[in-house]
Point group: C2
Chain length 253, copies 2
């Protein structure tokens, strides 16, 4: 691809999200902390409050939201001067799985950026209150690309109470601060016991602690069943965190 | 870097691991499944059986083994016609954290490959029975690079019973099979209840099920304390899996 063509697509991306009021990048230092679950529950929760919500699965190497939301074969994006995301459970939804299916997507750096830019450039989100991005884990090419391509993204960071997860979250926050990226706050997932460990670390890092979610054994059985998923304790806590998020956005982080 | 220089380094990598009998790449489709914990416990466990073991943390964007093994400041690699890894708890140990410290390492594709090749090219492992690679999660540039650079790597795949983890493991196995990479087997971590779900899927994929490890609530408190770590139920199970691994290597996967 020539640089000229690339530039055209970049300006197209701005155009595509022109009428999106808030872009929330749900991110984590480490995989497996429940980022996709939080992004899915947050999207559903905001949609149920009456907001117009889009969910964009950008975890290209390991997409999960299509399983959580049981997207299956029942919907496809519509091609019309770009791609219009289908509505899933009241959410405008887009994922690379519409195009890759079950095939592995071992994209190398430049191909990865290219696929990402292409997906962002073709998707017509229309008017939205929230576009939730399910980010790839860690500080990857995709993270850096999205920061570069969607300058308005505000980061919501998911971690677990584990030292191992928190250690990588610290690095992510350092990088985001260095790049002057707005961080809305930290969500602590999979809490096994009462502990202030993450909260204290959030304070130390100067990042808002949006709330903690207890480890929920029943969550696994609810994956792919949105009715069941929205009745879990996990979902109830994300609903509260959505409230906290709305307050933070309204009154400043 | 010129291609010529790159080629020189590639042949150096072969030379560096010439006297390593087995290269085991501990991998996962998804992050946060306990890959680094399994790699650390496996390394310790094989060393205690009297094998000469090296552990190479190649999870460059989110390294964890230095925390698990409490590597801290007490050891440094020695420079001598390359880098000689220090001995940690009886293991020859190498990690990018010796050079990056707590700084985030947001390496983009080509830089990432470059850092990886550099680390592999300078490290002198000497005579080893096992070199355990703690791989980056998923199907990333690093995964593809290591497959290309260390053709002798045999993959040990870690998953959890979660549909979300298994879905990405399936993709990883498809890719490895396509690339004719040897897969030793699957380890199931963080089991919450008795279930044959992963075992049945392993059979279906034609991959050996090496064993399951129950979710261990006490593990978090043992991170960074190797004495405590090696007394956990998690560690005891990895010791059994190490036995299974030795049998598999001896009699063929």
């Amino acid at each position: 691809m020539s640089n000229e063509l690339k530039d055209v697509r970049l300006s197209v991306i701005d155009e595509r999200i022109k009428n999106v009021k808030n872009v929330i990048a749900v991110s984590s230092g480490k995989g497996g902390v429940g980022k996709s679950l939080v992004a899915s529950a947050l999207s559903l929760s905001l949609a149920r409050r009456g907001y117009r919500v889009g969910l964009f699965d950008l975890d290209l190497t390991s997409p999960s939201t299509h399983i959580i939301l049981d997207v299956g074969e029942r919907s496809r994006p519509i091609e019309d001067k770009g791609i219009i995301p289908p509505k899933i459970h009241g959410i405008s939804y887009m994922s690379i799985t519409y195009y890759s299916g079950d095939r592995p997507t071992p994209l190398r750096g430049p191909d990865f950026s290219n696929a990402l830019i292409e997906l962002m450039a073709i998707t017509r989100w229309g008017d939205l209150d929230f576009l939730i991005l399910d980010m790839p884990p860690g500080i990857s090419d995709a993270t850096l690309d999205i920061i570069r391509l969607i300058k308005r993204s505000k980061f919501l960071i998911v971690t677990t109470p584990s030292k191992l997860a928190l250690e990588t979250v610290k690095k992510l926050i350092k990088l985001l601060s260095y790049l002057h990226v707005k961080i809305i706050g930290i969500v602590e997932n999979m809490k096994l016991r009462e502990s202030d460990f993450v909260k204290l670390n959030a304070n130390k890092l100067g990042v808002k602690y949006l709330g903690g979610i207890d480890f929920d054994e029943d969550l696994e059985d609810a994956l792919g069943d949105v009715e069941k998923f929205s009745k879990t304790e996990f979902f109830r806590r994300v609903e509260e965190i959505a409230g906290e998020l709305l307050r933070t956005l309204a009154f400043g982080a």
